[in-house]
Symmetry: C2
Subunit: 414 residues, 2 copies
Amino acid sequence: MAEQRNLSINGDRLWQSLMDMAQIGATPKGGVCRLALTDVDKAGRDLFVDWCRTAGCSITVDRIGNIFARRPGRNNDLPPVVTGSHLDSQPTGGRFDGVYGVLAGLEVVRSLNDLGLETEHPVEVAVWTNEEGSRFAPAMVASGVFAGVFDLDYGLSRADVEGKTMGQELARIGYAGAAEVGRPVHAYFEAHIEQGPILEAEGKTIGVVTDAQGQRWYELNLTGVESHAGPTPMTRRKDALLGAARIVDLVNRIGLQFAPRACATVGMMQVYPNSRNVIPGKVFMTIDFRHPEDGTLAAMDKAMRDGVARICGEIGLDAGIEQIFYYAPVHFDDGCIEAVRKGVAEHGFTARDMVSGAGHDACYLARVAPTGMVFIPCIDGISHNEIEDATPEWVSAGGQVLLRAILEKAGAVA
Amino acid sequence: MAEQRNLSINGDRLWQSLMDMAQIGATPKGGVCRLALTDVDKAGRDLFVDWCRTAGCSITVDRIGNIFARRPGRNNDLPPVVTGSHLDSQPTGGRFDGVYGVLAGLEVVRSLNDLGLETEHPVEVAVWTNEEGSRFAPAMVASGVFAGVFDLDYGLSRADVEGKTMGQELARIGYAGAAEVGRPVHAYFEAHIEQGPILEAEGKTIGVVTDAQGQRWYELNLTGVESHAGPTPMTRRKDALLGAARIVDLVNRIGLQFAPRACATVGMMQVYPNSRNVIPGKVFMTIDFRHPEDGTLAAMDKAMRDGVARICGEIGLDAGIEQIFYYAPVHFDDGCIEAVRKGVAEHGFTARDMVSGAGHDACYLARVAPTGMVFIPCIDGISHNEIEDATPEWVSAGGQVLLRAILEKAGAVA
């Protein structure tokens, strides 16, 4: 293992690749608009494929458009170690979300070439189709098909607002591949920006991702009585907005009660009739609960339902509560987590364990393969925004850790 | 005074006049759309003027279109006792708001005729132009000009959404009168539906209106930090909606603290970006405070500003607070209130003192003449709505009280 201590990726090359890729779909404000399966996405895919072929990889595209760039191992009958992420972006996205994981994987391949290192298992860099879900809902649909969460037909039939399906658009841009979707994977790693503020705030360079939060999403409809703000005494009101306000505070208290790993958010509220001098008769609102443990999510659910019933009972409101989305918590593979920790330790990076608050392709891959994730900080925790940013040092450090973790699982040939 | 105990209006005639007038601008749902200075408003005015002439009145129209139907007194050098309200309605208004006060006044004149009663002062029935403010803002503009709150030019230049001014529209429908706006009034009475639920809920027939609430209206802009609902820990959030929610609760507590006469309402809220999985970064909201005493309104203002500062300090929000509207409290004339009480007592109606939560032409008249108001219940407290309703008994009772109050001030000739 002594020789591996000095193994290094080329951080400058990785940074330059990120900046080159960011030209494709570049926005005036310094971000990226590379919606899934558009001409811009095709251009990004073409550039990636070109780079991979130059690096000696063979390319496979599956029927849902996932791209796999393969560097052979010594034993090509063994399942590959796969790393990657996505090239598609939000409409006003940044230069790092997704593309960082793809190009960090490419940099690992390039570095293995530079170092003349052979691995026991093949190593593949994956590009998962339509991770963001901005053009075709739901998000992470193609890694979901790979992991058996969704049927292939379901994935191909997802349509954008104009009615164009993923299947049609894959064929149009030339990425409707022939390979079956899904096959054995020895291990999967994904490098990603944190998309939150913790690492930067604590001065840590690497996040060792142990879990991804489960999610429960709700829609609430509160109904009171609309009436004139002047002649209606305080004690005779059934103010739907007062109930909604107390539920916002309840949701926040539930989040704090189950902190530090819980998140609880009311992001959306519509007030009816929304007039200055009319007591609101109806409110629509959403709740987003996240926690890495299903039992805690269930406890949050109960606390919310009990609290909503109490609040609405006090004010005299009717409440309709519907859970519209459930996403199971993920615990990543202990062996993969350990491989990431080794990379951190060898390079002496500052690090901390983390729970991913957002969904990633890795969350679906974790269902079918040992999986781990590597987070690097992003400036001010800002993501899904054109000003999304990261430093070359962070970008390079994540690549170093990824290289070491992949070697751990793919087996460096002595 | 013995003979006056048996004085009575004709409740059936008053009800029939209300139903006849409700045909002008009638809506399919049983309400009325009679926007100020439209052809429909002109038809309503014409019918009123015709009825008044038939009742022996002379008609004067002033330069802002206010109509005065005069029944002479014994001494016509004395200023008149005036009663009335408005004939214009909300776009989806009801059959009673405003028109009840006008036609109750007409019924008083008709009843004085039937009874052969002469008064010392002349009695006039007034129709105030554009009380609702639905077509031309602000509300109560023509009684405001009469009371010197607004200049005549200001009133005439008010424009609707198409740019048509009140002056143009008065001329077009033939109600741009020649009379100067404003002159001495001996006393002013206005009968109106309550537009709230109190009388009906307490089983009372008459509201003796002692005061009208002052109003302070505010706009608040709260600014926090928009961020991803997943990876942003509870303790690192600056959630503008959490602040807004606590302010809604604060406003409600302020209303209860100064109950029973205070009203405090958040009617409007806009959340940005209003997305399920984004912590809100900005909220716009309104506050409506009402109380019959200016000092209490000032105390409510201070409690709100202190509370908003504390809440926003706790969460880390910036708050902009702007008071956009102020309407002074009105205490009605003790002599006029007493005249209303006498009418209640003579007929043995159930009654209670009330504070008007809404604005009325009487609120401006109170600045230039001794003024009183008579409220009758409306079904379920509903107003500004096509289903606005009242019973013939309530309508008749209000007319009885109005007759007695007018006789008290106009002086019945023995």
